[in-house]
Amino acid sequence: MVAKLGVDRDDDLIEECLAGNTNAFRSLYQRHQSKVRSMLFQMCGSEMLDDLVQEVFLRAWRGLKQFRRSSQFSTWLYRITWNVATDQRRSFAKRNQNQTKIDMEYLLNLPETVSSPPLQTLHYQEVLYRGLDHLSTDHRTVIVLHDLEELPQKEIALMLNIPIGTVKSRLFHARSALRQYLEAQGVEL
């Protein structure tokens, strides 16, 4: 019921956006930015993250007239997010750069809190993100969307425009590859 209300609210906001109300788009941004930001971060790392978030929402604003409402706004927005992330990963690859830059520098610069993570956790985090870098883009995508962002397989299929069976199969192979990598790094699961 809550989800349904959320969808209705998105639809109302889109109507207002199409009537030229930019404040309605601000509300859409506030409702969805954290998920978009998190997906981009898991796919592309922290470098240029703000720029990428901005690019997603600018593309969404410009494309609102073409949004057919055959899917939920969030699915459509996540597809744009995935496109932006893919473009960015290609650009990183062209620059021959470590694709995701969630490196030790970022881990060590996390704000110190009373419950700072122990060293072993930091090590596991580093190994995990190295493992994700190790995967192909397709495999990393399904792991990020399904296992980290907790999107349902049906939504991922719609988002990537692939059959749900392909999502399942990619997830199976991606998990196997990641597990193998983690175990080779000494992580006991």
Binding site: F41, L107, Q125, L189
Partner: protein, 103 residues
């Protein structure tokens, strides 16, 4: 517990959260928004220019066509006259082949 579950638990336990956005990101985005449907004013200008050029070309073509159009009766009279002149001249210089003698 299944292998898949232990892996997913590990991923969720050790996932990182993204750094917070720049405090002005939202305002920067809002400042970039242009009215929906008017994001390509140059396209409309180009389409308008194209239309004007097409209309001008069409009217110019019509004008040239009109300037070069010939009254069929005048044309027929001209051709007949031309033909008659030509045949009259050829009669004048016709050689009598039957009575021709070489000098």
């Amino acid at each position: 517990m299944k292998d898949e579950d232990t892996l997913v638990q590990f991923l969720r336990r050790h996932r990182l959260d993204p750094p917070p956005p720049h405090p002005e990101l939202e305002e920067r985005l809002m400042a970039e928004l242009k009215p929906v449907g008017h994001s390509f004013p140059w396209l409309k200008v180009l389409m308008g220019l194209g239309l004007v050029i097409s209309l001008l070309g069409f009217s110019q073509g019509r004008r040239l066509q009109t300037a070069h159009s010939v009254d069929p009766e005048q044309l027929e009279a001209y051709l007949i006259q031309n033909w008659e002149t030509t045949t009259a001249r050829s009669e004048e210089i016709t050689i009598d082949l039957f009575n021709y003698q070489e000098n």
